[in-house]
């Protein structure tokens, strides 16, 4: 939990935590939009779980993910593969994150939060910016000695169809 010099009005503590997570998400989006995947991997805990899957699968409790990482090691391999081995056309991405809701810190310092996201994509050979993916982050945050980290981020997208390929994480 945040260490606070003077006892703070609990409503203000709530506000500060909300702001802290809001800013975490803004940095997270900025890292992905600039395709700084190394920075992105550092935003997770060692034992992190990261999943990108459809609302269809989530509603049916089917576990498959477009991306399925059950450790930061796998998140690092994802970043490594995309940066060092994967072939895909250059593109611009822009994440917009909103509707953040944070639950009070739970046992073991788990902080559950959700936020809606929109990923906009621009390819260099198509005129328009497109709604590439929309969905909800279902998150568990933790305060660590290295600061706030994601213990779990499940990205549940509303799209029924992925437009061709998901080249950069969500």
């Amino acid at each position: 939990m945040l260490d606070i010099p003077t006892p703070l009005d609990p409503r203000l503590a709530t506000l500060l935590l909300h702001h802290e997570i809001d800013q975490f998400n803004a940095r997270y989006a900025a890292a992905l939009d600039a395709q700084r995947l190394g920075e992105w991997t550092e935003m997770f805990t060692e034992d992190a779980f990261y999943l990108v899957t459809s609302r269809e699968n989530a509603d049916r409790n089917q576990p498959v993910g477009l991306i399925y990482c059950d450790s930061r090691a796998m998140i690092r391999d994802r970043a490594f593969a995309l940066e060092k081995t994967a072939m895909f056309a250059p593109r611009y991405l822009r994440h917009i994150i909103g509707n953040l809701m944070v639950q009070p810190e739970g046992e073991m310092g788990d902080i559950r939060a959700t936020a809606n996201y929109v990923v906009l994509q621009v390819l260099f050979d198509r005129p328009d910016a497109t709604l590439h993916q929309i969905g909800v982050y279902h998150d568990i945050f933790r305060h660590t000695q290295d600061g706030l980290k994601l213990r779990e981020r499940r990205c549940i997208y509303d799209n029924l169809l992925v437009p061709n390929a998901l080249c950069i994480p969500v």
Partner: protein, 418 residues
């Protein structure tokens, strides 16, 4: 209702002199050709994948699917038999089934509530005899004659196929012995458990996806990840199998240690990167659970099915064409009853290789898009498919071959009469 047929007699549709070593762009880009493909291939003498039995385990379970572009409903009837019907009401054409899947006792069209049995029979027409002696259907209205359009259905090892043709040979014959063997190596009798779906569009012609999986050449070159981590390497044990007709195929390979690749071969492989390592190497482990010499097989079953056995990540891919320039791909990932929780997790982890976000999968989707882009923007050219001249067409045991692609077009031209 385009003026396709007439149009296709036009000399512009003449195949290049060079024969099967060339494929003209119009095969991939022409609307009239596409229309004929729907008629003669997807609605023709073919078995089209529509679902896995495990998706509709109980009577009344149904799932939306497609035969070519045509939407159908796959449903398990009361008597456990599986029925496939067109998703179009016999009254005013409404696409009556809107949910992706579910369970029901009957199908009720929302517009006027004509009601159908699970096998597509017309069961009830509201106010059929009118009200107070007025209106309603003619006295001689024949309920029997007015059901939903039904397709022929067959299943094998839990995989469900449908056909518009009434005189189809059995699936086992349709596949032929070699393809059947590989099919049964994957569907080895264990019951399937559904792990979930991927769905994506792909802005390319549907045949390019078959060709991608009949093209072992690309695998050794495009997929750095595959090559670097030894899944497929030119020179190691592999086979590009085609059935007698050329329409079906299986790309098969055995995992090996890339570091052992002969230097000369590696020299040609730009994709190969020295000394790469994974932080979580176990996700590339192969648990040898199959009675097969191959660690990876990709079966392309004409016209709309791919069976992926990528080590331990298993999946169906169903092609749903939407026009000459685009198709939808629906993936159904599965495991087997009796998988330990750790085995299931292993399959899920290994799933990072494939699908629209897979290390390999995203590359293929991009590459196919590039090909369609090239044809649409620099039109009226042709493709060169002459690798491996020793094999005119069909099965080849070298990866440096396009013989399986030539075999597919030999079949396609026959069926399409082009």
């Amino acid at each position: 209702m385009t003026d396709g047929p007439a149009k296709l007699r036009d000399p512009r549709y003449r195949w290049p002199e060079a024969g099967l070593t060339r494929v003209p762009d119009w095969v991939y880009t022409d609307a009239a050709v596409y229309q004929r493909e729907v008629e003669r291939i997807f609605h023709g003498q073919t078995w089209n994948y529509v679902a896995l039995e495990a998706e509709i385990p109980n009577p009344g379970d149904f799932i939306r699917s497609n035969v070519g572009p045509t939407p159908v409903v796959v449903v398990r009837g009361a008597g456990n038999a599986i029925h496939v019907v067109e998703n179009r009401c016999a009254h005013r054409a409404a696409e009556f089934c809107r949910t992706l899947s579910g369970t029901t006792k009957e199908f009720v069209c929302p517009y006027h509530q004509w009601t159908y049995t699970l096998d597509g029979g017309l069961k009830a027409v509201p106010f059929r005899r009118g009200v107070a002696g007025k209106g309603g259907m003619p006295a001689d209205f024949d309920m029997q004659a007015r059901g939903l359009k039904r397709l022929n259905v067959t299943t094998h090892r839990g995989v469900v196929f449908a056909s518009y043709a009434d005189d189809m040979e059995p699936l086992t014959e349709y596949l032929g012995p070699e393809i059947l063997r590989e099919f049964e190596a994957t569907f080895d009798g264990r019951c399937l458990t559904i792990l979930g779906h991927y769905r994506h569009t792909l802005p390319g012609n549907w045949k390019l996806y078959h060709e991608n999986l009949k093209d072992p050449y690309h695998a050794t070159l495009l997929h750095t990840f595959l090559v670097t981590f030894g899944l497929l390497v030119a020179g190691n044990k592999s086979l590009m199998l085609a059935d007698a007709t050329g329409r079906h195929g299986v790309m098969a390979s055995a995992k090996s240690d890339a570091t052992k690749v002969a230097a000369d071969v590696r020299g040609e492989m730009r994709a190969y990167k020295e000394g790469m390592t994974l932080a979580e190497p176990r996700f590339m482990d192969f648990v040898d659970e199959f009675d097969s010499p191959w660690s990876v097989t990709m079966a392309t079953i004409w016209p709309n099915l791919i069976v992926q056995r990528e080590m331990n990540t298993l999946g169906i891919r169903q092609i749903v064409p939407t026009g000459p320039h685009e198709f939808i791909m629906k993936w159904t990932m599965f495991g087997f009853e009796g998988d330990s929780e750790e085995m299931t997790r292993h399959r899920l982890r290994q799933g990072n290789l494939m699908g629209p976000a897979g290390f390999l999968g995203l590359e293929d989707n991009e590459a196919i898009k590039f090909v369609q882009d090239g044809m649409q923007r620099v039109p009226d050219g042709e493709h060169v498919v002459e690798l491996d001249p020793q094999t005119a067409y069909g099965t080849s045991d070298t990866l440096i071959s396009e013989a399986a692609i030539r075999g597919m077009y030999r079949h396609w031209r026959e069926v399409m009469d082009l």
